[in-house]
Homo-oligomer: 359 residues x 2
């Protein structure tokens, strides 16, 4: 098998050993005589998966006991609505940082529910950046401050989270588990799985359990975080197979040495790429150096024609998914946790050759 | 491999050839150099899956062009909330048939959203049954009439759907695709996949497109059926792998001869079981003969002790998941589309032997 280097922004590459393990047990799950795809969510096979996935997440992120770890569905986009539906009460204001496409979508959905204050807006700045903490125009007594830890389209990432009185809520879909994190600084964290956690189909929510009780009484049960927390995410049938992959991916991360180890690997991968981008005027990185994402490295070439040619040439060499998001164009190399360092070396070689030909 | 006979009510047994196909291509999807688990939802591999899954459903159910076929998440339980949030406007009343546990949960969630009239209530009747059409106390000008086509816990199933002025909305989670259906009689049908369609993690919604436009303007986009329909269920990242299994299962059904063919097989399986239950006073089927489910065959034995012994003895013979729902006890054999006829024969043999020993 000729495995490609998959630079897709999400769903994204998974560890090959995780895929092989899932394949080996797909038809007969560890001798149980059935597939995990058809196992009851109340049965022993799935129960062990569910428990280990939560335990692995707790261990990797050192999640305090007073936090719940939930498996939900509908992606981060559903969380854009559920966060204000649960946590923004009538009369309150929620502060949101507008840092790009994903933050913008979160703001748009929150406005259906309640009052939103955009505490800072860097969405249209070029080079792309995150706001500085002292730029934030915060609301006294805000229900929460929402931010997007990593913008996959702009290629930017928060390096230090702001200190606030209001609880922090973060969409960490594209950089969760990429480095150590102090969970205790957040009221709620959510992340669609399909970048750093597993395949599409499950969303992780990590939240201070007590805080979840504030949801309004007229919110249907299935939309209430607290109801999911009370039933350990078995309020209804969970997306068992995507959660199984999350269990395998988090086990892989633990075996690799945890978040310190993967963070070192992630930094090295990103530095390799950014040093090429900074080393020649042929390449034009699009994010401000202070806020460059370690997950999504975005850059332009001297012309759109050259960009298309580069993306095509890279694809022919087995480096796929490098096309920038359709809203901004350019080139984007998404190099999440599972993206192998060898793939970054291959990209660098491809870039050097392309620059030699066209620079 | 010793494959068990899996009588689980859901997640439920899948066709062995579907599992083998998924296994074969799990690491390298048809030579693409990546797994479908890590393929972009905007890429060619997943695009073909998505398109075929919808086309297969349209073909199997002969879905009229004016209906949308949606892939959503959160199971039927999420639909319990989304149906009234989208379709029950302020000042309107929705009629609901209360026929058992699942209908009851749908009613409970609808009451968070608007005014509900319980048009009939057979939930506590024994033997369990569905109401007759002339028992329905319908509201003039009701937003819709909601019913549960098959109650997995009670073991009952609608045989003829009522004729109403209001659009029919049906939870068909546990019998969709088990027999031909006139979709044009419904405003909206929803079904969690994990019984007849695939694994847990995706929910199918089939709805008259035009009707979906009535959702209130203050409903967040991601909770609006119309928004999902407008984007062909790619409003955000769908649960790609569960949908892939739905594609394989629906392809398997088409190859088998479609819904007429599977309905004949389902009737034969159920009749085999019910004839044993009716053939001796040792077994006590719990559903009224006129409303017996072809999907979930529920029965009691002379004592709870014998029930436990029977379930244990069957499990030892590789017949698993026969324990009735914890809320009602007894025995339940769930024999959805993919449950093999040989498994029913094996259960009958086990029942005969048990009756010989204890009858």
């Amino acid at each position: 098998m000729a495995r490609i280097y998959n630079f897709s922004a999400g769903p994204a590459t998974l560890p090959l050993e995780v895929l092989r393990e899932a394949q080996e047990h797909l038809v007969d799950y560890h001798g149980a005589g059935l597939s995990l795809l058809e196992a009851s969510h109340r049965g022993p096979e799935y129960d062990a998966v569910h428990t280990e996935a939560i335990e692995n997440l707790r261990q990797l992120l050192d999640i305090p006991a007073e936090y719940s770890v939930l498996f939900m569905t509908g992606g981060a986009t559903t969380q854009f609505a559920l966060v204000p539906m649960n946590l923004l009460l009538p009369g309150e204001t929620a502060d949101y940082v507008h840092s790009g496409s994903w933050a913008g979508k979160a703001i748009e959905q929150a406005r259906f529910v309640g009052r939103v204050n955009v505490a800072a807006n860097t969405a249209k700045e070029r080079p792309a950046r995150m706001p500085a903490p002292d730029e934030l125009n915060l609301t006294p007594g805000a229900a929460y401050l929402h931010l997007t830890s990593n913008e996959t389209i702009a290629g930017t990432q928060w390096k230090t989270f702001p200190e606030t009185e209001a609880p922090l809520v973060a969409d960490m879909s594209s950089d969760i588990l990429s480095q150590p994190l102090d969970v205790s600084r957040f009221g709620l964290i959510y992340a669609g799985a399909q970048k750093n956690l597993g395949p599409a189909g499950v969303t992780i929510v990590i939240a201070r359990t007590e805080w979840l009780a504030r949801a309004p009484e007229n919110l249907p049960t299935i939309l209430r975080y607290q109801a999911h927390a009370a039933e350990n995410s078995l309020l209804n049938t969970p997306p068992c197979f995507p959660i199984y992959l999350v269990m395998l991916v988090t086990r892989w991360l633990l075996n690799l040495g945890g978040l310190e180890a993967i963070a070192a690997r992630n930094r090295a991968k990103a530095e390799t790429l950014y040093s090429v981008l900074d080393g020649s005027a042929f390449w034009r990185p699009t994010a401000a150096p202070a806020h460059r994402s370690l997950m999504n490295v975005t850059f332009r070439l001297p012309s759109e024609e050259l960009e298309q040619q580069f993306i095509k040439q890279a694809a022919a060499a087995g480096l796929k998914g490098l096309k920038g998001h359709r809203s901004v164009g350019g080139v984007r190399a998404s190099i999440y946790n599972a993206f192998p360092p060898e793939g970054v070396e291959a990209l660098v070689a491809c870039m050097r050759e392309f620059e030699r030909q066209h620079g």
